[in-house]
């Protein structure tokens, strides 16, 4: 992908694309959009650079918030928290940070990397660690392919900096989550330091451009009163032959939630219009499996999204309500997430579902 500059006019479009890629998770991004607008107005645009243009030994870092989306809507955002983490990481590494990568492009975290890039005055790499969003921070491609999360720097709005190092990425995630909880379920992290070469090999490439493409297709379709789903399918096909399927069109007839282990588990039930067909979508913050009339039609890591039936605006798992008229759609996961090694971490069995991944390409 060519390098490009992200300006104020791109913010809503990229954020909308990030929302769709959140697979039902990732949280509401309004305050991040607003902060980014101010930052870009003050400091100028942010460069989005293709991973291939990074020097092989360039220093990049992974960034994102760890916590509860609802807390983000109340505590909003403090630049200092992000700046502190970046500064601490640079000190710890003994070298300046040359680029930032979003840990997850899905949801509000997609924008947090652009904010970090703006504050530091460095580019954001056109890539991310998940190609979407996942509940645990080590459900990330670099970890799947053997990179260490250490050192991880976590910061709070109170100006505290915690450095976590360990040989198990899963245990690092556990400790970081404890820090987040102690701080009211929100902290900012900079982790998985990577060289340019490692980014090229282990990150999901082209993510920020993909978010823009999705957002742009939907925005254009809405303005010109064309079918947004058709526009989305065309954009994804051009972006790299990414398959997308419309799995269901109907209304929400039930949404059950249950809190277990600090996550929100639940099931959304839908009925078609006109009636006759049923769909269920299970989630653990992010939507994990969709079944139509009891038959499985999509599973993680494919990106399952529930969207407004007309506008295709994203509806997160915390925003699903009885009576909403919606489409359930699914985007094909990046290839990096569907290898056997990856499926052990992000496939259905990793979430306790007793079935194997089935690509949406095999769906009608």
């Amino acid at each position: 992908m060519p390098n490009w500059t992200l300006t104020e006019k791109d913010i809503d479009i990229v954020a909308d694309g990030c929302a769709l890629l959140g697979s039902g998770g990732g949280g509401e991004s309004h305050s991040f959009r607003t902060v980014l607008r101010s930052l870009l107005a003050e400091r100028g645009p942010v460069n989005v650079v293709d991973a291939m243009t990074l020097a092989p030994d360039a220093q990049a870092v992974n960034v994102g918030f760890v916590g509860a989306p609802v807390v983000m809507t109340e505590k909003l955002f403090s630049e200092r928290t992000v700046a502190l983490a970046l500064e601490a990481m640079s000190r710890r590494l003994g070298r300046p940070i040359e680029a930032v990568i979003p840990a997850e492009i899905g949801g509000a975290n997609g924008l947090s990397a652009v904010i970090a890039a703006s504050l530091l005055g460095v580019p954001v790499v056109d890539a991310d660690g998940m190609g979407r969003a996942f509940p645990l921070s080590d459900q990330i491609s670099y970890s799947i392919y053997g990179r260490s999360a250490s050192p991880t720097i976590a910061t709070t709005d109170h100006g505290e900096v915690v450095c976590v190092e360990g040989s198990s990425n899963r245990r690092v995630e556990l400790l970081v989550r404890a820090i987040s909880s102690a701080n009211g379920a929100l902290c900012f992290t900079v982790d998985y330091p990577l060289t340019g070469a490692e980014v090229r090999s282990y990150a999901v490439l082209g993510s920020v451009s993909l978010a823009r493409r999705i957002g742009s297709a939907l925005d254009g379709a809405r303005h010109e009163h064309r079918d947004p789903f058709a526009a989305l399918a065309e954009a994804l096909d051009t972006a790299g032959g990414i398959a997308v399927r419309s799995l269901f069109d109907g209304k929400v007839i039930d949404c059950r939630h249950e809190t277990r282990g600090g996550f929100g588990f639940g099931v959304v039930s839908l009925e078609s219009i006109p009636s006759g067909e049923r769909m269920t979508v299970e989630f653990q913050n992010e939507f994990l499996i969709a079944r139509r009339n009891e038959a499985t039609v999509a599973t993680t890591p494919d990106i399952i999204s529930i969207v407004d039936a007309e506008t295709l605006r994203n509806i997160g798992s915390e925003s699903v309500r009885y009576g909403q008229r919606v489409k359930v759609i699914a985007l094909e996961a990046p290839a990096l997430l569907t290898t056997p090694a990856a499926l052990a971490v992000v496939g259905p069995r990793a979430f306790g579902l007793e079935l194997d991944y089935r690509s949406i390409r095999s769906s009608l």
Binding site: G67, A185, H257, G323
Partner: protein
């Protein structure tokens, strides 16, 4: 109980006298610039035709778009001092950050971010700072600002810091008009703060308006209580309306839908209110308008108001009809229909002319449209039907046909049979449906709060109990209270049993 309902609309002020389920009298008079003259006239007309029954009313309920219009038109708004209890959180997202520039210019006075606010589990983010808060209050006082908006992180959960800040402001500025964000519900700091600021900027207008309404009532010789209708189709006492005018914003469409429900006897149906310029379509669920899902902007300011999910289409009694090529609207003659409409001797063709030609309504001089081309008339009515069918289809969330209640002065344009509609219901007093909705409105109480470490049932019980208390405080008869809506959402990533519960109850005026 006898009540008078008054709807102050953009063009007309409508009034009805209701006794239980009977409509005893109705009146319509043009809305005046000062609002109250129109209200006084409407009351005069009702008293004239309603006689003794009218004089015996115990409540006058007014629905008005006055407050929302003030925001939209940038008129009659006060400058506001804002205190936010949040530091060290939210520092980069300042109050007013996402407001349209012109409104921000008008309303922003002093702004202070202060230590405080709470975490989602109830702990303080930082200790309340008396000294810093007092200094901020003094700056507000020095700036000559009289209206203060106070918000705090997670205040719907714990509001102690907002209350302490309010006490300090009152100490420094005894006459200050203070709005606390915790009274305006809703998780989402920026949106809640926006609503709190809007409310603060409307306090003087609200006081002036409710005083004027009270005066109009008293001068009419009535000793009735004054209520205003709010966004969810229920009322609140005038005292509360004076303090929380933002709760009146969506009165118009809500009242017409509730009126339609009452006049038809249906509680689950689509409603179309055909006015002069637009038709508003909404869906009734259990007698109340179904609410929109998305964030609502008022005058360009982002809020989380519960507003009715209403779709407006460009079809009304005054909609222009053009030929060569054929086009229906979207513009309308509006109030100029009476000068420029063909049946009134004017040059312009509108839907009203077509309706008169077809005998759907008797207005003006039918001779003036006797030679109207029959095919043109059919095209107009077919297009109107198509627009309505499309609008209804967009809003439906269930399969199968639903009934459609047609109200509004232009409802003669609604055909008797439509796709997706099981039956079209026309009702008496359809042209004052808004005022009827106001007259029959209920009192509600709402709670939206996060509960930690209690069971789901316990959380809903506590929320219901709090909502009932609020409804009673608002004037509801306790015995008539019923739950209108319960929503429960467990919170992801949270330790323990954390859930957000929203409960709304409504009942009859006590």
């Amino acid at each position: 109980m006898k009540r008078i309902g008054i709807d102050v609309g953009g063009t007309n002020t409508d009034a009805v006298l209701v006794d239980g389920t009977r409509i005893l009298a109705a009146a319509k008079t043009p809305t005046t610039e000062d609002v109250t003259s129109g209200v006084r006239e409407a009351l005069r007309l009702i008293l004239a035709s309603g006689g003794d029954a009218a004089r015996a009313v115990e409540a006058v309920i007014i629905g008005t778009t006055h407050f929302v219009n003030a925001v939209i038109e940038r008129k009659h708004l006060e400058r506001v001092g804002v205190l936010r209890l949040c530091l060290p959180a939210s520092a980069s997202v300042r109050p007013f950050i996402d407001w349209p520039a012109d409104l921000r210019e008008l309303v922003r006075g002093e702004v202070a971010l202060l230590p405080g606010g709470h975490e989602i589990d109830g702990r303080e983010i930082a200790a309340f700072d008396e000294v810093a808060t007092r200094a901020a209050a003094l700056r507000i006082a020095d700036a000559g600002i009289g209206s203060v908006a106070i918000s705090g992180v997670f205040s719907p959960l714990r509001a102690e810091h907002e209350e302490r800040a309010a006490a300090i402001v009152r100490d420094v500025l005894p006459d200050a008009r203070i709005t606390l964000s915790r009274d305006l519900g809703r998780i989402g700091l920026l949106e809640r703060e926006n609503v709190t600021i809007l409310n603060a900027s409307l306090r003087v207008l609200a006081r002036r308006t409710t005083q004027a309404f009270r005066t109009a009532i008293a001068e009419s010789g009535l000793t009735a209580q004054l209520y205003l209708t709010q966004n969810d189709g229920t009322v609140m006492s005038a005292d509360i309306a004076e303090e929380l005018p933002v709760l009146c914003f969506a009165s118009g469409p809500t009242n017409s839908m509730r009126g339609a429900a009452f006049l038809s006897g249906l509680s689950d149906a689509a409603v179309v209110d055909v006015g002069g310029t637009t038709s508003d379509i909404g869906i009734l669920k259990h007698g109340f308008p179904r609410e929109a899902n998305s964030v609502v902007e008022v005058g360009g300011v982002r809020t989380l108001f519960r507003m009715p999910d209403v779709t407006s289409i460009a079809l009304g009694g005054g909609t222009r009809v053009r030929t060569n090529p054929f086009r229906l609207g979207p513009d309308s003659l509006g109030f100029r229909l009476i000068e420029r409409g063909r049946v009134f001797g004017g040059p312009d063709l509108s839907t009203t002319d077509v309706a008169v030609a077809r005998g759907l309504i008797a207005l003006g001089d039918p001779q003036r449209v006797a030679d109207l081309d029959k095919e043109l008339a059919s095209s107009v009515l077919d297009e109107a039907k198509r627009l309505l069918e499309e609008g209804i289809d967009r809003l439906k969330t269930q399969a199968g046909d639903i009934p459609l209640i047609a109200v509004g002065g232009g409802s003669f344009l609604v055909p008797k049979m439509m796709k997706g509609v099981s039956e079209v219901v026309f009702v008496p007093h359809h042209d004052v449906a808004n005022a009827v909705g106001a007259a029959i409105a209920q009192i509600s109480g709402e709670v939206d709060q996060v509960f930690s470490n209690v069971s789901r049932e316990e959380a809903i019980d506590r929320a219901t109990s709090l909502a009932r208390t609020r409804a009673e405080k608002g004037g509801a008869a306790p015995a008539t209270l019923a739950i209108v809506d319960v929503e429960e959402l467990p919170l992801s990533y949270m330790p323990g049993n954390c859930r957000r519960v929203r409960v709304r109850v409504a009942g009859e005026l006590a």
